[in-house]
Assembly symmetry: C2
Homo-oligomer: 375 residues x 2
């Protein structure tokens, strides 16, 4: 970072099914809470970055930058970014660039999605817009199907069982118990995951993050200060199509982003005490831990087992509940992860945390490292 | 600008109806031409900003940052921005911020749209995503309807006739004769415009920019130099809904952006010798001239009349043919305008030019000032 960027406000809606509310309502709630939590007034916001993937499908609404700017009295410059499920982190990256460029001193970032406005079938089709329309969509794959292919290969290569995989969701649900913003706060057993309805073999219903409505926002500033700092902001990409990859049990975009993020923050892996990773499906949580370098290939499950069996965390890992239990309103997720890392660092007085957000099957990876300077 | 940003490469497809080609094909052609025109190699591109509004509707394709990065051998960081018809200029603004932040030294910006993949009706619905879904869409307005309301009010307030309005499209078509990338290169008479089929009273078919396919790209760099420089990059917003405006014959976003752009470039209105404005409908061309300060309210038509009757340009005005004759592949337009200003400055050895791009009914305005230092 060539400027000191503070995280000066955070706010979100509870993630869930908000049948009676619009995308605009969710945006407004998250923004209001964020402004309330910050030392600045609405008029201090000099740019707005909105993350959204599905507005056209769910609300017949594009042009969400202007819509969101309309919610503020002075209509600041605004734009919408989209990178599928990585839209939230890409919005944060864009905000960091604006701040570092000195085009803005205080930027509002908000990610929102109102998925229940469309039918489940329509949402599956819409989400497949995140995959390659010429190479991956035509064979009829859904994202559950894509991650099932990854899981099949992973279980085969590393000798994991179906029960191993189930531990991941059980841990995430247990973590969400204390999170008032999580869509699902009840514990689930390993058996419940293994016995839940089959979605795409070997993935079952309770391996999959849900369809969710929600919004999450934050304010980043070079003008106002807080003990929470953005120490690294990185975006990386890989081939959009799985058919062009040399392997599918690892995401190159995560590997590239994390090395650049550690270099930017001038820290090492050992410094990270709180980690939120993008567990859109249980298998992804294992792949992420390995790509991020916290486990050797095939051994991510050992960390989940230790947490599950001994309630012992080598570092905070998806303590929010992850995408599985918090819910996954697509473009809100990348922003919400940063909020969770911030809260974890503050609450436990930890210094460094990392938020890892991917779009599609890792075609985009957005990554942020936060520092809590009062730790 | 806090860094010297050069425009080091430009390229575009011809705008038109490209039935046999995909969005990806158009992106690839524009990018290849742009790289060919530049002093850099693909590996020098360290970020990609893609402007696109309608990919989900026309190509079942979101996540266009990663798709476009996939077209390059090294998959640089990439993201897609959207601000309706202002997507192109907003992408350029984002690229400038990335360069000024020093997160990138050389950025590829590409805007693309493949509108003929969807039916005309579907495109009208999709485009209305640029308007307010709760306040402006429900009454059944299309964008032709919105600009017809503006035109009705404008003709009433300022006493213009239907024939006056027709002069605008006649000038734009005449201008496009020499532009090999324009969708329509034939001259049209004032009578032909006035007698063309009614779309939304008083606007007729030849008042309206067409549905188009096309892509336009450029490379901006702080590392490689060229005599073409970006001297200002501004984005401004207004209320998304027309119902919240105090007047509809003028766009506040243009007025805000142009003052900030002149201040940023440290030039005055008199320095601008080439101007491309966003004439999505003929009436918009008049409103733009007035909002930009080149004519008093109600008197923009005098400039068009002078050009039409005396072939005398006080400054180059939509010499490309504007949106009416070049075509308007939504998100490509804002990028293409900057390409046209660059070519006009180079060809006529002029120093300063301005590109003016709006989204929706001026809810977003993106503006760029270029300098040709060899003028």
């Amino acid at each position: 970072m060539n400027r000191e960027i503070s995280l000066i406000g955070i706010g979100q809606t509870k993630f869930g099914e908000w049948w009676e509310r619009s995308l605009r309502d969710l945006l407004a709630e998250a923004i209001l809470k964020t402004l309330d939590s910050s030392p600045c007034t609405p008029l201090d916001i000099d740019a707005v970055i909105v993350a959204n993937m599905l507005g056209e499908w769910t609300d017949d609404q594009a042009h969400l930058g202007a819509l969101t700017a309309s919610l503020l009295p002075h209509h600041p410059p605004a734009l919408r970014v989209e990178a599928a499920c990585a839209s939230g982190s890409v919005a944060l990256y864009t905000a960091c660039a604006l701040l570092e460029s000195q085009r803005a001193q205080t930027v509002l970032v908000v990610g929102a999605e109102k998925m229940t406005n469309a039918s489940g079938d329509a949402i599956q089709v819409a989400l497949m817009g995140a995959a390659d329309s010429e190479h991956d969509q035509p064979c009829g794959l859904t994202f559950a199907g894509i991650f099932a292919l990854i899981a099949q290969r992973y279980l085969h290569d590393y000798g994991l069982t179906r029960e191993d995989l189930s531990i991941v969701s059980a841990v995430h649900h247990r973590n969400a118990k204390g999170n008032p913003f999580a869509q699902f706060r009840q514990e689930i057993t390993v058996e419940a995951v293994s016995e839940s309805p089959l979605v795409a073999d070997p993935l079952r219903l309770l391996d999959c993050s849900p369809v969710s409505d929600g919004a999450a926002a934050c304010i980043l500033s070079t003008k106002f200060k807080s003990p929470l700092r953005i120490r690294a902001s990185q975006v990386s990409t890989d081939t959009l199509s799985l058919t062009e990859r040399t392997e599918i049990t690892s995401f190159q975009s995560t590997k590239a982003a994390v090395e650049r993020a550690f270099a930017e923050a001038e820290i090492t892996r050992d410094d990270v005490r709180a980690l939120e990773t993008h567990d859109c499906f249980s298998i992804a949580a294992l792949v992420n831990l390995e790509d991020l370098g916290f486990a050797e290939p095939g051994r991510g499950i050992e960390i989940y087992k230790k947490i599950f069996e001994e309630d012992e965390y080598p570092f905070f890992l998806n303590r929010s509940g992850g995408l599985k239990a918090c819910g996954h309103p697509v473009a809100a997720t990348g922003v919400k992860q940063v909020l969770d890392v911030a809260k974890e660092l503050q609450t436990a007085k930890l210094r460094f945390g990392l938020a890892h957000n991917i779009g599609g099957a890792g075609a985009t990876c957005g990554m942020h490292i936060l520092e809590y300077t009062n730790a």
